[in-house]
């Protein structure tokens, strides 16, 4: 139990770490392709070893055929008519068919000796032995060292091969090295999850980490940790009852975690996208209120009601939200309540509101004068863009259209720094 747990956690760490490299190459299913292409290699290794299960020959054959598949894939991709999905699909089925052919032929003559190899396909969920831990940890160590030493060059070999060639590095070497590591990782995880599911050890943790962080280097760490987590969960669940295979349980744990991360995770998940949208809406609402308040302040109309504040913006139709925003403003000393339901800007609020109006009017001036938009339509456009302009862009635009008045003849408030 402890050995299996250690093995699963180590494999999860390894798969999570290396899987990101595949995901970045936009070939999430490359791992799947390689795990299918191990099959004919295993058979050839079996034949070379004189129809016995000699691990050395099996590993040799399998890694050779997986590398061959990988090289074929690169080569096919370089030619014109094929995209990565087609090449992967063709290689998966082609290599698998050759493997199936060999297995079919071999099992007629050497059925009993072959039994173990067939188990590699579905994964026998056999318990990991202590002797298996050592190669896995060595491979993990090598991968960690490899990725941390060559991190920048690895990333460049995926995203910007031209630059890497320019600085006299060889991008293909890094690709080949990372592929070799992935092949070995697949081979060591064969026993645990089986060839078809081994690829998911590479894919699922990396896919989960997409929703955990926008930063690449953190994604590597997170996906390794996720791999360890699902490895541990799967092993624990499979120890709960009879006939619960470890491999499929690990994958199902991974799937659950993926769905969880995709709905609740901190980056680009459904929840975080929703929250961000809400936040943005709130900011727009507040800025609309401020601009309306400044409009009345400019006219010296005194305190105004909530409905007055809403009347100036076409997109603000939500009374409770406006009241909430006003309460927030009262706390921050931007508005003051003169009489019940009657609000006016404080001195501090006036400066804040002025900057928003400034954005609105400068944008209006800009698109009317430079882009030739009619003044009527300029207002609608400015209602949108006023929320997205920052001070630096504003100054640039101001230099382009040096003016004191906006298209509707109103004065453009000056920049704070310039006024003094």
């Amino acid at each position: 139990m402890i050995t299996t747990l250690t093995g699963a956690v180590l494999l999860g760490l390894l798969g999570g770490l290396l899987g990101n490299l595949l995901l970045l190459r936009r070939m999430a299913l490359l791992g799947d392709m390689m795990s299918h292409s191990l099959l004919p290699g295993l058979c050839v290794g079996f034949i070379l070893a004189g129809y016995t299960k000699n691990y050395f020959y099996l590993f040799l054959g399998a890694s050779f055929s997986a590398l061959l598949a990988n090289i074929l894939n690169e080569w096919l991709l370089k030619q014109r008519p094929f995209k990565s999905d087609a090449t992967l699909a063709i290689l998966i089925s082609g290599f698998y068919a050759i493997g199936a052919l060999l297995i079919g032929k071999l099992s007629k003559e050497h059925g009993t000796e072959l039994a173990g190899i067939k188990g590699y396909l579905l994964g026998q969920a056999a318990l990991i032995q202590e002797s298996d831990i050592l190669p896995i940890s060595i491979l993990l160590l090598i991968s960690v060292v490899f990725i941390s030493l060559f991190y920048k060059r690895l990333i460049l070999s995926i995203f910007d091969t031209q630059f890497l060639t320019f600085v006299k590095q060889k991008p293909r070497v890094f690709l080949l090295l990372s592929t070799t590591l992935i092949v070995f990782a697949l081979l060591v995880s064969l026993q645990m999850v089986g060839a078809i599911l081994a690829a998911s050890f590479l894919l699922i943790p990396a896919a989960i980490s997409l929703f955990l962080s926008p930063h690449l280097h953190r994604r590597f760490v997170y996906s390794a940790l996720c791999g360890a987590l699902i490895g541990a969960c799967g092993t624990y669940l499979s120890s709960l009852g009879d006939r619960l295979p470890t491999g499929p349980l690990i994958v199902l744990c991974g799937f659950t975690l993926f769905i969880l991360a995709a709905t609740l995770g901190p980056h680009k998940s459904t929840l975080s996208v929703y929250l961000k949208k809400r936040e943005l809406q709130k900011i727009r609402l507040e800025e609309n209120i401020l601009r309306a308040a400044y409009f009345f302040y400019e006219k010296n109309e005194g305190p105004v009601s909530v409905l007055n504040l809403m009347s100036r913006s076409s997109e603000n139709r939500d009374i409770p939200a406006t009241r909430r925003a006003l309460r927030h403003f009262l706390k921050k000393n931007i508005f003051k309540e003169e009489a019940p339901g009657q609000y006016s800007l404080t001195n501090h609020g006036e400066t804040v509101a002025r900057s928003i109006l400034r954005k609105h009017r400068i944008w209006e001036t800009f698109i009317v004068k430079k882009l030739g938009v009619s003044p009527e339509r300029a207002h609608d456009s400015a209602e949108v863009y006023e929320h997205y302009l920052d001070e630096e862009i504003l100054r640039t635009i101001e230099k382009e259209v040096p003016t004191q008045k906006d298209p509707h003849g109103k004065k453009i408030p000056q920049d704070e720094g310039e006024r003094e």
């Binding site: 999430a28 030619q79 699909a89 063709i90 089925s93 599911l197 709905t263």
Partner: protein, 292 residues
Amino acid sequence: MSSEFVIFLTGCSVALSAVILGTYLNISRQSLLGDALSHSLLPGLVLAHLVTGELNPTALFFGALIAGLATGYVIEFIGKRFRVREDIAMGITFTAAFSLGVLLLVRYANKSHIDTDCLLFGNLLFVPLEESFFSFSFLKHIPMTLFQSSVISLLSVFFYFLLHRPFMNLLFHENSFKLSQLPGNFLKSLFLTLVSLTIVFGFKAMGALLVFGLFVIPVGIGRIFNKSFLGISTVGFCSAILSLWIAIRLSFNYDLSPSAAWISLLFVMFITVFLVSKIPRRRDRALKEHST
């Protein structure tokens, strides 16, 4: 009918629908959908078996069909809802479905007759031994799988003749599809159903993963020569038939699994044709350089 001929006919009819549907998959860059669907049939089959408690062909058929359709929709849902790339969505969905199938199989159906060998490798040689769907006149000599696969290949041909234009619009030009006022989701489901059905009927004869090969490799061969849809499918279908015939001869003589031999042969053919297709181009280039 001789058994060799029956095997040949079955292979042809599976190949026909697989090549037509595979061409759509190839041009819309979704070749791996076949891979995903062929893996995810397993839970459907196991569940159908567990629910009915026997190997009822109708139940198995519906189980596999529902599993195939569900996978297709889950892939689309994950891709769109969570905004991940389609290959990631596919990889995650089908490995999860496949492991669910293995889990159910090992946990509840250990002593059942679902043979993973059959799912993985299939066997064309058993097709002539099957009982017929009909029990009268000459039709009773037609084995079940042959009947099913010829029906589905007819449906695929109909799909091509009737719905080719709108479906291409749906794939590549959504605005003009909207003009035609056809139900897009229905068309997508119809296509997904056809793909799942081809795999369901094919897998008994060939093994699920090998049917998937039939979707992609002949189309790959066709793609080397041709750009038009009809050209790709025709060349693909011809190469599939040719290699099927050779594979049957080989497997009878050397005692091989015909379906695995078929796909291996197609793969070898693909690589050879691809290599050969590169040679004249190089000569052309040399001639061009010589003349300038």
